[in-house]
Subunit: 119 residues, 2 copies
Amino acid sequence: MVEKINLAAKLALLDTAYEPGIVGYLNDYKLQVVKVKGPFVWHKHDETDDFFLVIRGRLTIHLRDRDIDLEPGELYVVPRGVEHCPDAAEETEVLLIEPNATVNTGDAGGDMTTEPRML
Amino acid sequence: MVEKINLAAKLALLDTAYEPGIVGYLNDYKLQVVKVKGPFVWHKHDETDDFFLVIRGRLTIHLRDRDIDLEPGELYVVPRGVEHCPDAAEETEVLLIEPNATVNTGDAGGDMTTEPRML
């Protein structure tokens, strides 16, 4: 049976920045929450757009030519193939939606690559 | 150029309940905002799940066997093929995500069937 999802309660289960947790699915898309603090890694997803909605805090998505600054209730969809680097000065909470097969670090790989856990 | 989306600002452009507006796209999914007041129509989507996130107010999604009550920051994904009827006692604002081809009234049709406009 599918239950409702309280995003703040799910985010409270996360200890560490950049360790995403899956809270549900929309068809073949994973609904993830993640805490952001400090810069992530520059990367891109050639096969998919990438949805970010800020729940708490303030998120900057660096693009190569500009920054996207998001407050709670603001969202941004990074187009497929566009290099981006999420960043936050203070701990920030985000809802992230992307296809199930999407790797968090995209084409970049490296130490920050991780599989989301089910929350 | 893709811009950020402030959900409250987009919702302020809507006058009428159950007239959804498109605020962006995630691949072949439409990101819509909609105001809910009073009961919608019972319907189902056999081809897709249906994502609801409450931005403001309080949403009840009636299912045939129970109600899902959602507050701001809470989301629910109605599984494909499951009959549901959104409802709200007071005007409520929602982010709705579903494939581009999805019809708002699903299999039910009728007077509340509408095409979303671009906001």
